[in-house]
């Protein structure tokens, strides 16, 4: 890891609360995260873990009943948590930090042509003529792999397939040359074959244009493909982060263990798949100790009493679990994910189930 890389955005002790019928729900509990310029960081977690909510604080897109009750998000010397109106956000949201959402059909306007929707963004953020905007739009459509871009400029979203629509969403997001691209489950609504193409497209564009990517996903296969670094979220907190190799081959938090163990790719036919019992914690109540403890069969007594701090595993790898305390018993990760690399390699090498010529 390059130590003197520039931090492009820095979230510190961010806490987000939602007001739900006279009640407060704490969706994000003191999350800190630094993103380095040009890297791809992936946040993984189950639904409700807060991964989307957390990244929405980067673009001021929290729902109206939500608020940032603590912490800061520093971007180019501006604390994004202090920005209030849409006017404040102008020049940042959509221009320097763009987001791609899950479902391309709902992020595009069905009543406007594809061309209109791309040029709209370009015209808004760069003061240029209509003709110039159209030229740029066709150029970016070609870049994201739309064949006959000039002809398809005047078509409507319904005339595009799902994968093509997501390409358009990417084109719109990139039309203002953002510094950070947030991809919120960009391929979840797409087929596997299309998913592979979209992932490759984002990666190629990143190489070419040099933006920083923040991926949000629940699919560890996608994470393995795209990420340089990974953060695992649970119950509104990042509970472990490190390089992608550290998270897959040397995970430390029991939740990361559980998440990896329940992958269907690791299932053995005729045997039960591993699964996590119980349900995620209710975020209405104050969480005591380690949020994952009630679902962790091997939880320690202290996990129920006191919240663990981050323990350092390496310069790049930190985990929030009491298991890393020197006084804790030495627990080994579950059998299913030991020698993960050898297992997966066995599946993709010649003779394995997922080997392709």
């Amino acid at each position: 890891m390059d130590e003197n890389r520039n931090v492009i955005i820095s979230a510190k002790d961010v806490e987000v609360k939602f007001r739900v019928r006279d009640n407060y729900l704490t969706a994000i509990r003191n999350v800190s995260l630094d993103l380095y310029e040009g890297e791809t960081f992936a946040i993984v977690g189950e639904s409700g873990s807060g991964k989307s909510v957390f990244t929405k604080t980067f673009t001021g897109m929290l729902e109206s009943n939500g608020m940032i009750s603590n912490g800061s998000v520093m971007f180019h010397g501006i604390d994004l948590t202090k920005l209030k109106t849409d006017k404040d956000w102008e020049g940042i949201r959509g221009a320097k930090i763009s987001t791609i959402f899950q479902d391309p059909m709902t992020s595009l306007n069905p009543l406007r042509t594809i061309g209109y929707q791309i040029t709209e963004v370009i015209e808004k953020h760069q003061k240029i003529s209509k003709a110039e905007a159209k030229k740029q739009a066709i150029d970016i459509m070609e870049r994201v792999g739309i064949p006959n871009a000039a002809d398809r400029f005047d078509e409507y979203p319904f005339q595009y397939s799902g994968g093509m629509r997501q390409r358009i969403v990417i084109a719109i997001a990139l039309s203002c040359h953002p510094e950070i691209l947030i991809c919120d489950e960009p391929t979840t609504a797409l087929d596997v074959t299309i998913q592979a193409q979209i992932i490759a497209l984002i990666r190629d564009l990143q190489k070419e244009l040099g933006f920083t990517t923040l991926y949000i996903t629940h699919d560890l296969g996608v994470v393995a493909n795209v990420a340089d670094r990974v953060g695992v979220m649970y119950g509104g907190q990042i509970i472990e982060y490190g390089t992608v190799e550290e998270i897959f081959f040397d995970p430390k938090h029991p939740y990361t263990w559980a998440l990896l163990s329940s992958l269907p790719q690791l299932g053995v036919k005729g045997q039960d798949l591993y699964y996590i019992t119980g349900t995620p914690p209710s975020l209405y109540n104050k969480i005591k100790g380690d949020a994952f403890a009630p679902r962790n069969e091997r939880a320690l007594k202290i996990d129920f009493e006191q919240e663990p701090p981050f323990f350092k595993v390496s310069d790049t790898h930190y985990a929030k679990t009491w298991l890393l305390d020197p006084r804790a018993p030495k627990l080994e990760k579950p059998e299913a994910i030991r020698n993960l690399h050898e297992k997966i390699k066995g599946m993709t090498d010649k003779g394995g189930a997922f080997h392709v010529e």
């Binding site: 596997v192 493909n225 390699k345 997922f354």
Partner: protein, 320 residues
């Protein structure tokens, strides 16, 4: 396993499903589907969106009519016009599990009602007491508690809701289940729970599943046999192990290569093969299902078949 000795529960015979898409325009969603499903197996139908996999599932459920061919269940035709009595028999014996448990349950009805709905429709209970006992048993079989009866769907997590959806199907004591992407909308950890539950129920009740999915990694774990469908045509059918070991059709290969593997070192060097139909024989010869090895069928022309034969011979030599 020799397939001849096994009892066929559902037989799809040269089925086409066509939709009218406007004046004199037609869309053939499923073309000449022709296969048998054996009693007690999990048969997976794998393909992308728009491939016709759900349409075929719905044709079995008598929701979409077949425009050609027929579907037989336990030796009796169930497609086209059948008597009202037979129709009820089909509804009772073939149940469906849907993709999105939030959308498939009535949000204004209690779990008790959701689960009993089939019992009401078919008067499958002696008295109130009997009905409640049946609901309790169905809930227990999917790992929910009898006290959940009085709750509403929104009070449950995604995985629990999907289990209510399964209980709703199970209470009818069906013989055959069409599971249409039952885990696609669920989180990884919950997927595992639902898959385990489906396997458990299958073993306990000798059920047969048609499992519709787009994800080969899940199918490998649950299916006995797999059919790959592409643009309405079934391109390959084989036993699960065989399909993974000896994928013949280039589309099957591209699907296999697209499954993301949870390993950063492997995944970053992995080739993703994009399916290119131009590699197929373009002579215009009509394609048909040809058996390359016992129980392993590929949809191809005679020229392509020769190519697959050579590929198979080479793979067998390499893989032993």
């Amino acid at each position: 396993m020799s397939n001849e000795d096994r009892e066929v529960i559902l037989s799809i015979k040269h089925v086409d499903v066509t939709f009218e898409t406007g004046h004199k325009k037609k869309l053939v969603a499923v073309k000449d589907a022709n296969f048998d499903i054996y009693k007690g197996e999990t048969f997976a139908l794998v393909g992308e969106s728009g491939s016709g996999k759900t349409t075929l599932g719905r044709a079995i459920m008598r929701i979409n009519p077949c425009s050609a061919g027929e579907i037989d269940f336990e030796g009796k035709r169930i497609s086209g016009k059948i008597s009202r009595e037979e129709d009820r028999n089909v509804v009772r014996n073939i149940q469906m599990i849907f993709q999105d448990p939030a959308a498939s349950l009535n949000e204004r009805a209690t779990i008790e009602y959701c689960v009993s709905e089939g019992l009401y429709n078919f008067h499958l209970y002696k008295d109130e007491e009997d009905r409640l006992a049946k609901v309790d048993r169905a809930l227990e079989s999917v790992g929910l508690l009898p006290e959940h009866k009085s709750r509403y769907p929104h009070e449950f997590s995604g995985g629990q809701r999907q289990r209510v959806g399964i209980a709703r199907a199970m209470i009818m004591d069906p013989k055959f289940i069409v599971a249409d992407e039952p885990i696609s909308a669920l989180d990884v950890s919950i997927r595992a729970q639902v898959l385990n539950l489906m396997n458990k129920l299958k073993a306990e009740r000798n059920l047969t599943y048609l499992f519709i999915a787009h994800d080969l990694s899940v199918v490998r774990f649950i299916a006995d046999r797999i059919a790959v469908i592409h643009l309405g045509e079934i391109v390959e059918i084989a036993e699960s192990e065989t399909l993974f070991k000896y994928p013949m059709h280039p589309y099957t290969t591209s699907l296999l290569s697209a499954v993301p593997m949870p390993d950063p070192v492997v995944e970053k060097t992995r080739k993703h093969i994009v399916y290119d139909p131009s590699v197929l024989d373009q002579s215009g010869e009509k394609r048909e299902m040809r058996e390359i090895r016992p129980g392993h069928f590929v949809f191809c022309t005679s020229k392509e078949f020769e190519g697959y034969e050579a590929k198979m011979a080479q793979m067998e030599q390499e893989k032993g």
